[in-house]
Symmetry: C2
Subunit: 345 residues, 2 copies
């Protein structure tokens, strides 16, 4: 009897060690880091030089803008869970005027989609597209051929369907939101700090970098948002056997209808829309393009699921639904879809 | 006997569970994410509007550059180990023309300082300074008052002491390195993809954001590189009771000597230098400024350790020593210094 008691004591002790280190509310990461992909070397010449003091306390330096540069690369940060539960890595591609921060902590400080899908066992690859964030940008008009654009808070307020047209006000107290809107409104100005300048002339370089990323990761699932939508669909057209699924969150564009879409018919595609689409002029013009793409793909035998959250009784979601207060609910819908489509181990 | 056998079996089984989940070669993260700090709202007016197609397949949009923006914020990404072994979080501040990527994966794909110091139990806060990377940048000359500068590969090659003056060549095969140089030379062009534009007129906003970060984290250790050096020392002057130590890796600037430095005398400071300082004109002009700062601080009873790696028999390190092939060796020296100075639990 005493031996058995000792046995249970030892078992309990070792079990305690196990429980104490089990990744319950933790992330157990096998590897994390980043890399750059895509881009090209360029050489500038014939530009005037100048003198400048860069660092306080440092002497003036002659700055010659002429020379060799690396441009049009993309930045990719990855986090690989020790306990991978998905068959493929999850590539997360942000929308226009934004960076990979879209998928990180939400502007109200709560965990975002990156944390959610890492927890559910997906190797995560979050990128900053060409010209955005850590991907850097290049001198214009010498390398980038046009001027950048900076999104105003008013444009974000309206296009992201936080509130009705012309309901934005500089004073947060005087802003009107859509009824039942679920974006963390008190963090809207904080969210605007995530905005980065964009160019309208770098799509080819951006697409090339995304295509190169898919070649590097191999078979993968691509989650795209807004402007990332068309890049994701085009990447699948370029590598239909490597892209195993596309989760398109409020895509702003899609490939033209036609025979080419045959290539996508075996790729499960989920398209998700939030609320208030009928309340915003640009989205009323954009959604029909995506709808035509979906119908044409379906007519070719494509497997495309079209989800409008309000039709599921989930109302109040904005264009930035990964930041809305019910983002975990939406993430779980996506996770269920991935499980249903055989994307998990 | 059979009972004891069963007991050991059960013990072994439970122990196996423990070992199988122990974070041996893994990172066990309590929390990770990011936030923005610092910055201010601005309003632009009187600028001309234009029409542009942003996303392929999307209709043209009228772009009005006038309106409200958030500017001059800083981006901070944090990773908090489940098993914290340090007393304070470690804030990692990059140098000029670079971002927080400095501390991440090295350009040759090997783990960097971020991984090293997370493994040794430090809560890590890696920032992209104002105007850099995910912190974004603002329209100039309307908001940022000057033009940005783009570092050429030749300038990086020389200033970062990869090779002698004028030894850079567009063709990698024709580049000459310093003898015994330890930078992963085959990854130099990859490293150049980390370069981001910089301004010479945002120091006040950058300092304000760094100071705000220290107020947010509370008592902390600040690790600075190059241009980050002066920002780190100034942040300590602004909050001498909150900055518990400064690790200055090849700082390019320091506060002026004088009575003000009294405030820093109780803060342990480690200054680390690589090799080839005598081979590069700018560093021959910069190092004496830091040396004067160190001597003045020491004369006031300051605790400043001055380490020139070659004097320890560690030769071949460049300005980017956190990317050199012996970066772990240097990180371990820093870790030993932190332990010696009572910064670990």
């Amino acid at each position: 009897m005493r031996r058995t008691g000792k046995a249970w004591l030892m078992f309990g002790f070792a079990l305690l060690l196990f429980v104490s280190c089990a990744p319950t509310d933790r992330y157990v990461i096998k590897e994390f880091g980043s890399f750059y992909i895509g881009g090209r070397p360029v050489t500038l010449s014939g530009l005037p030089t100048r003198e400048i003091v860069f660092t306080k306390g440092a002497p003036a330096m002659k700055v010659d803008p002429n020379g060799d540069f690396e441009v049009e690369q993309m930045y990719v940060q990855y986090m690989l869970p020790a306990d991978q539960k998905s068959k493929y890595p999850l590539l997360m591609w942000h929308g226009g005027g934004l960076t990979g921060v879209t998928w990180e902590t939400k502007p109200d400080g709560n965990p975002g989609f990156m944390q959610y899908f890492l927890r559910t066992g997906h190797p995560i690859y979050v990128s900053d597209a060409v010209e955005r964030g850590r991907a850097s940008w290049a001198r214009y008009p010498e390398i980038f051929t046009s001027e950048p654009f900076f999104r105003t808070k008013k444009e974000a307020w309206e296009l992201f369907r936080i509130g009705p047209q012309d309901s934005y006000h500089t004073d947060p107290a005087k802003r009107t939101i859509h009824p039942g809107q679920r974006f963390p409104i008190s963090a809207f100005d904080q969210f605007c700090k995530q905005s980065v300048p964009r160019w309208a002339t770098n799509d080819a370089a951006t697409q090339a970098a995304y295509n190169a990323l898919i070649q590097k990761t191999g078979p993968c699932v691509v989650m795209v948002h807004s402007q990332g939508g068309n890049f994701g669909f085009q990447a699948a057209l370029a590598a239909p056997d490597t892209v195993k699924a596309i989760i398109a969150i409020e895509p702003s564009g899609a490939p033209k209808t036609g025979p080419d879409l045959e290539k996508l018919k075996n790729i499960p595609i989920l398209v998700i829309w939030g609320d208030y689409l009928d309340k915003q002029a640009l989205w009323q013009r954009l959604v029909p393009n995506i709808d035509a793409f979906a119908k044409d793909l379906r007519s070719k035998g494509g497997r495309i699921d079209w989800v409008q959250l309000p039709e599921l009784g989930i109302s109040g979601n904005t264009h930035m639904l990964m930041m809305d207060e019910n983002s975990d609910q939406i993430a779980s819908l996506i996770q269920e879809w991935m499980t249903k489509n055989g994307l998990m181990r």
